[in-house]
Symmetry: C2
Subunit: 297 residues, 2 copies
C-alpha cells in the first residue's frame, strides 16, 4: 500500500477561522489527540501578532507544551518577526504563505506581490541557514476573491521561486475553496511534471463540496501529502461542516477505502473530532461524519 | 465543451425511498420542473406492485400526465408484468434491474441470480421487439450488503448478457453507496474498454460522501451519462441530504465548473429542489446546496 501523509491544519487554519477562541492548553490537547490518532504532521500554531489575530495568541505556549519529537509540528510564519518568534519557541518546521495575486497581498498584508515574495524568500533562506524545515504555501492558487482565476503559469513561477529560496515543500492551496477537479488535474499535472510530486502538497477547502473530488484528483496526479482539518474546522459561513477546510476524517476515510495507507486510526480520529466539537462549542464534522460515527458505534 | 447527460432518478429512486408519499400529480409537477431546468432524461416511475411499493402507485397516471416528447422518460421494470403495464402506459424507454449477487436477488425478489437474469433478458428482448428503448441496471455493482465485494468480472459478465439481450445501455449502480474512487477507476476502465463508454452510465449514492469523487472518476474513465437525484432525494437514514442518491445539483455544479456542458439551468434546478422539498415536507439538498443558494441569491 502506498502511504499518504495528512497534515492536519485544524489547530491553526481551522481554529483561527472559528468563531470560538480556544486556549493554548486546549489547542495542545487537540494537537495531542490528533497525534494519538496517528496524524504524522500538524500545523500547530501561527506566529502572527496577537493583536491582529487574537485567536492564535499563545503560539509560544503551544510549542512549549508539545513533545516535539512526536510528530512534524509546523508553525505558520507571516514575516521575519514571526519567524524569529517561532524559532525561539523551538519550532523545527516553518511555513511561509505567499498569496499568488497582487490584490490579495495588498488587501491581506498591505504588501505588493513582489515584496511578499521577497519576505518569503528571506524567511525561507534564514530557516535553511538555521537548520529548520522550510515550507511555503502558495495561496489562492486557483482563484483569488479579488482577481478571479489565477494562471497555472503564475503558480509554477512562484513555486519555482519558493523552491529556489530553500523550500523543501510547496503547498498549493485552494484557499477559498473555488477549485474544481478539472483545474486540479491541469494545475497539479503541470507542477508535478515540473517539480516532482514528492516536494508538493495540496490544500483544499470544501466551500463548493468538491474538496474530496479535488483531493482524489490530486492523488491521481501523484500527490502524496495533503492538508486537512479535523472536523472540517475552519469557518462555516453557510452551515456547520459545509464550507471549512476539507475534513480530515473524510479524507482519511476516502484514502483508506481506496487502498492508501494513512497511518490514522479512525476511532481515535473520531475522538479528536469530538474534542474539537467540545472546544469550539458548536457542531463540527465533515461530510461523512454521520456515517463514520454510525460505523464506529 | 463535451456534453454529459444527467438522468434524474429523483422522481423514482428518490421518492420511492423517501418517508413521504407523493401523489402522481405532484410527481408530474416535479418531473416537469426537472425538464424545465434542462434535464434531458428522467426516471419517471416504477411499474411495481402498488401493494409491495405503495409510494410508486399511479405509475400509469404519471406517464399519462407527461408530454412524452419533452424528454427521455424511463420506466423502471421489475418483471414481465411491469413491462406490459409500462408499455400500456405509453413508456418509450424501460429499464430492468439485475442485482449482481445471488443473495441480493433472493432477499429482494425471491429469485436466483440465474432466474433474475432470465427475466431481465426476456423483458429486454420483448422491449426491443416492441420498438422501445431498453436499458438495464446492474445493481450492487461494487459491494452487496449481503455478500460484500462484488468482482468486476461478474459485473462485466452480467453487462455482457444485458447487452446481448438488447440493452442499448447498461447503468452500473453503486446501490448502497459503498464504492470508493479507486474501485470506480478499476471497474469503469474495464467496462469502458470492453463495451465502450457510449453504452455505459453510472449511478452513485452519497452514503459515504464519496459520490462526487466517484462521479468525477467515472467521467475520467470516459463515462458521459450519470444518474443523479434532485435534492439528493432517496433516503436519509443519518442526516438530511447526507446519504441519499448523489444530488443532481451537486453533480451539475461540479461538471459545469469543470468545463462540461450539462444543458441544465442552475437557477431552475434550484427551483426543482425547492419543489422537491415542498413535496416531501422535509429538508432536502446535496452537499453544495447552501453554497448554490447563496450564489443564486
Amino acid at each position: 500500500m502506498e502511504r499518504i501523509v495528512i497534515n492536519d491544519v485544524g489547530p491553526r487554519d481551522g481554529l483561527q477561522n472559528d468563531p470560538t477562541a480556544v486556549s493554548p492548553s486546549d489547542r495542545i490537547r487537540l494537537i495531542n489527540a490528533l497525534v494519538d490518532a496517528g496524524i504524522a504532521a500538524v500545523e500547530a500554531a501561527s506566529f502572527v501578532s496577537p493583536r491582529a489575530v487574537p485567536k492564535m495568541a499563545g503560539a509560544h505556549d503551544v510549542f512549549a507544551g508539545l513533545d516535539l519529537a512526536r510528530a512534524d509540528f509546523s508553525a505558520l510564519i507571516p514575516n521575519r518577526k514571526g519567524y524569529e518568534l517561532a524559532k525561539a519557541a523551538g519550532a523545527k518546521s516553518v511555513g511561509v504563505v505567499l498569496s499568488a495575486t497582487e490584490t490579495m497581498n495588498q488587501k491581506n498584508i498591505n504588501m505588493s506581490l513582489d515584496k511578499a515574495t521577497d519576505v518569503c524568500r528571506e524567511v525561507l533562506q534564514q530557516a535553511v541557514l538555521d537548520g529548520l524545515t522550510a515550507r511555503a504555501y502558495v495561496a489562492v492558487a486557483v482563484e483569488c476573491p479579488y482577481e478571479g482565476l489565477v494562471s497555472p503559469e503564475k503558480i509554477e513561477q512562484l513555486s519555482e521561486i519558493m523552491f529556489a529560496s530553500g523550500a523543501s515543500e510547496v503547498i498549493i492551496a485552494d484557499t477559498i475553496g473555488a477549485a474544481n477537479p478539472a483545474q486540479v488535474a491541469s494545475l497539479f499535472s503541470r507542477l508535478v511534471s515540473q517539480f516532482g510530486a514528492a516536494r508538493l502538497s495540496a490544500h483544499f477547502h470544501d466551500t463548493r463540496a468538491m474538496a474530496l473530488a479535488n483531493a482524489w484528483q490530486a492523488v491521481q496526479c501523484g500527490i502524496r501529502k495533503l492538508d486537512a482539518s479535523i472536523g472540517g474546522l475552519g469557518g462555516c459561513p453557510f452551515a456547520p461542516g459545509a464550507a471549512g477546510n476539507l475534513a480530515t476524517e473524510d479524507l482519511v476515510f476516502m484514502l483508506e477505502q481506496s487502498g492508501y495507507e494513512t497511518g490514522v486510526d479512525m476511532n481515535r480520529l473520531l475522538s479528536a473530532v469530538e474534542l474539537a466539537e467540545t472546544l469550539v462549542q458548536h457542531p463540527v464534522g465533515g461530510r461523512a461524519l454521520a456515517y463514520l460515527k454510525k460505523q464506529a458505534a
